[in-house]
């Protein structure tokens, strides 16, 4: 077995340097951790990332909102992060609309992050960290999260019509508000999406998410 004469296993990659200081998200709610997802509005769809929620109260913190009594997010598109089961890679998503994007997959998939049709047809890790860029397709080299938000807004009317039909069929409570327009993503992240610095809680919890790949260019650690 291993002895002092044999090589030791490769250590885990350290954070990219230099780490920004001071921590810029001190006034934001802390990322809750991997697969820590609060109670969601009954019958409403889960989603892949921040700012992609369909109604108030649908986000990582759920209907109770983040710690500190701030209350739940007030409207569609204003949520903090994903509610689908966290995963790290292409085809690992559980259901429609829960795939991230950008690391593996076709150009078409990468042009539609968060808008996959079904289980195992999503593309890449969730949540979608703000550093991530698409590696194929028309969005190559550009932000995955910003593309996801644009797709979310473009699909808004059709998705809301679908939800209203479900509500009319009694599959979503009649008391569930379905807004006409989405609000902006949380202000600190509206231009970027959720950064890995926030997701990892200033590098205190680097296991909060892992994006696949070994090139070190996913912005979220990568697989060892």
């Amino acid at each position: 077995m291993a002895s002092s004469a044999t090589p030791t296993p490769t250590p885990a990659p350290p954070p990219g340097v230099p780490v920004p200081t001071p921590y810029p998200y001190a006034n934001e709610p802390a990322y809750p951790g991997p697969n820590v997802i609060g109670p969601q509005p009954e019958g409403m769809p889960l989603h892949a990332c921040m700012g992609l929620n369909a109604c108030a109260g649908a986000d990582r913190f759920g209907t109770a909102g983040p710690p500190g009594g701030k209350g739940p997010n007030a409207c569609a598109g204003q949520g903090y992060c994903s509610t689908g089961t966290d995963h790290t890679c292409h085809v690992q998503n559980d259901c429609k609309g829960q795939g991230g994007c950008g690391l593996y997959g076709t150009g078409e998939e990468m042009n539609n992050p968060g808008a996959n049709d079904c289980r195992s047809l999503g593309s890449c890790a969730t949540p979608i960290n703000g550093e991530r860029f698409s590696t194929n397709g028309p969005n190559q080299g550009q932000s995955v999260w910003l593309r996801a938000r644009a797709v979310f807004e473009a699909n808004w009317a059709a998705n809301q019509a679908e939800l209203k039909a479900l509500q009319a069929a009694g599959k979503i409570a009649s008391t569930q508000a379905l807004p006409e327009t989405p609000g902006p993503a949380p202000a600190a992240f509206a231009a970027t999406g959720p950064t890995y610095l926030w997701i990892s809680q200033d590098n205190e919890a680097r296991g909060n998410m892992t994006a696949c790949g070994s090139s070190g260019m996913s912005g979220a650690g990568g697989c060892s």
Partner: protein, 542 residues
């Protein structure tokens, strides 16, 4: 820029050979030879994949990242991206040759058709080639970690066909000449489009399954700020004014580096077949320039380098490049000087960005228990080949899902992670003492295809038992409850047992168990299978 290239016209040598074929061969002879050569083409492409992957997995690409990345790490990352960019295209080429053969009504044979031992020649390759750095002319390609000599072997594979070279399908000098022979067969007067409509077009491997790049083909051109949000997001006030990952990213493959309308063409005509073969030739050897020779680029928009140039450019950054005796072709021109900053294999090992894996390992030469861990890797590789064959049997409407849950999951979520796990296991005794484990890519038997998932599961269970025994030897207490939980793989959705980061040997062995479970038994929280699909249903009625 997405500008599909036209099929390259036949050279004078090819035109002369086609005339000979038309005059002296029969339709039956041409059809039989074409089918034989296409199966050989599949095996040539298949042979390159373990060779390139082995070297790829000797590289550690992200030990460090950031603005002050070392030259050694930067080179290792670049080499990894370049090698993966070629490996991805070899998978494309294997698929293209398979699609052409399938269109002729013949099922491509992949399972147990990889090289039987290493070092290896490629099928029907001339065993004597140009002089290498060691002064030798033997064409024997090893499984080996990255180094100057290994890149020479890559060049032996990708050595470019010179202008107007004779077509050859046995004792061939370059892969380009081998495919040239197929181009000539396709150009005879005996064939019709109907000859390429004998396999259902909709069951061929479809274009939507191919992507030229992924996060593993990409590499940074220099240090970068990994914290900077991707464009077009504005740079936050807290970020450094240096380039972010997106700006540093090099994409070594291009979406337009192919002939015709798509990279992965499903074949139903002579033109489709010629298109597929031409894409293979151009990506490997460069677009031919009449009366000159191969271009450094594989497409006419000159975005993507040929495989040969990609590897030669990597090799030229090794200090050994200066004064080497290796014999290179006239075209395309080689770098005249060592590319700076120069690197050596010793530099890479010292910087911990190169894993000291053995040359040409075989499982039987690993210590007991380690061999079972190595064999599962080969079993997964063989199952991937069976799944590739199975695509042609899957109902077309299910192909995308099968590809994602079978091929993608096995490649990225099992094989990739499994190899990067076992390479952290030091070998304390036997032929490879003092080195780290590497994959062996052997043609292990999973039994009949219809029962192959059970065969894969058997290999997996042996690997689990081996890891369990090694953990017990190492430190039973350290393993704790987590291991017991991981071993209950029939009822356990392995996610919870995964050790998130590299660590001690016990943790590494726990990850061996985890990735085996991903292959053979993982389920989602709601009970949906998340392991590799059992192909038995498709072969039971084949």
């Amino acid at each position: 820029m997405d500008t599909p290239d036209p099929v390259t016209p036949l050279t004078p040598a090819e035109q002369a050979f086609v005339a000979t074929l038309n005059a002296n061969w029969t339709r039956e002879e041409v059809l039989a030879r074409l089918q034989t050569d296409l199966q050989t083409a599949i095996e040539i492409e298949l042979a390159t994949i373990p060779i390139y992957l082995y070297t790829y997995y000797s590289l550690v690409r992200n030990n460090e990242s950031g603005e002050t990345i070392s030259d050694a790490q930067l080179f290792a990352n670049k080499a990894g991206g370049v090698i993966m960019s070629v490996a991805v295209e070899e998978m494309l080429h294997m698929s293209l040759s398979s699609n052409v053969l399938f269109s002729m009504g013949v099922a491509p044979q992949l399972y147990q058709h990889a090289p039987s031992a290493y070092p290896t020649g490629l099928p029907y390759h001339n065993p004597t080639g140009p002089v290498g750095p060691d002064g030798q002319t033997a064409v024997q390609i090893p499984l080996g970690k990255l180094g100057f000599e290994q890149l020479w072997h890559f060049l032996q594979i990708e050595y470019p066909e010179q202008w107007n070279a004779p077509p050859q399908d046995s004792n061939w000098d370059t892969i380009g000449q081998f495919y040239s022979y197929i181009r000539c067969l396709l150009s005879t007067a005996f064939l019709t489009d109907g000859d390429f409509q004998q396999g259902a077009w909709a069951k061929a491997i479809q274009p939507y399954n191919y992507s030229p790049n992924n996060v593993d083909t990409v590499y940074p051109d220099a240090g970068f700020d990994p914290w900077k949000p991707a464009p077009p997001a504005p740079t936050p006030g807290w970020a450094d004014p240096v380039q972010g990952a997106a700006a540093a990213a090099v994409f070594p493959d291009y979406a337009d580096s192919h002939v015709g309308q798509t990279q992965l063409v499903a074949v139903q005509s002579i033109q489709d077949a010629a298109t597929a073969i031409d894409t293979i030739c151009d990506q490997g050897e460069g677009v031919p320039i009449p009366d000159v020779g191969p271009s450094p680029d594989d497409d006419q928009s000159k975005d993507e380098e040929s495989h040969y140039v990609k590897f030669l450019t990597l090799q030229a950054q090794f200090a050994d490049y200066a004064g080497t005796s290796e014999q290179r072709p006239l075209q395309p021109p080689a770098p005249t000087d060592v590319i700076q900053p120069a690197i050596t294999q010793a530099d890479l090992l010292a910087a911990d960005v190169l894993v000291n894996m053995p040359d040409n390992p075989v499982a039987a030469n690993y210590p007991p228990l380690y061999s079972d861990i190595a064999n599962f890797c080969s079993a997964c590789f063989q199952y991937m080949l069976i799944m590739t064959e199975t695509i042609y049997l899957v109902p077309p409407e299910n192909q995308k899902l099968f590809f994602n849950e079978g091929l993608h999951r096995s490649m990225i979520w099992v094989l990739d992670k499994y190899i990067r796990t076992i390479r952290q296991i030091p070998i304390s005794g036997g032929a490879y003492a003092g080195m780290m484990m590497g994959p062996t890519f052997e043609n292990v038997s999973l039994g009949l295809r219809v029962n192959s998932f059970a065969g894969l599961t058997d290999f997996g269970n042996k690997a689990i038992e081996a890891a369990k025994a090694l953990i017990a030897e190492e430190d039973a207490d350290e393993a704790g409850d987590k291991v017991a939980e991981a071993l209950d793989h029939l009822n356990f959705a392995a996610e919870a047992a995964k050790i998130e980061k590299d660590g001690d040997l016990v943790s590494v062995l726990q990850n061996v168990i985890y990735y085996v479970c991903v292959a053979i038994s993982k389920t989602s929280a709601d009970g949906y299978p998340m392991h590799l699909p059992d192909v038995g249903q498709y072969w039971a009625t084949a």
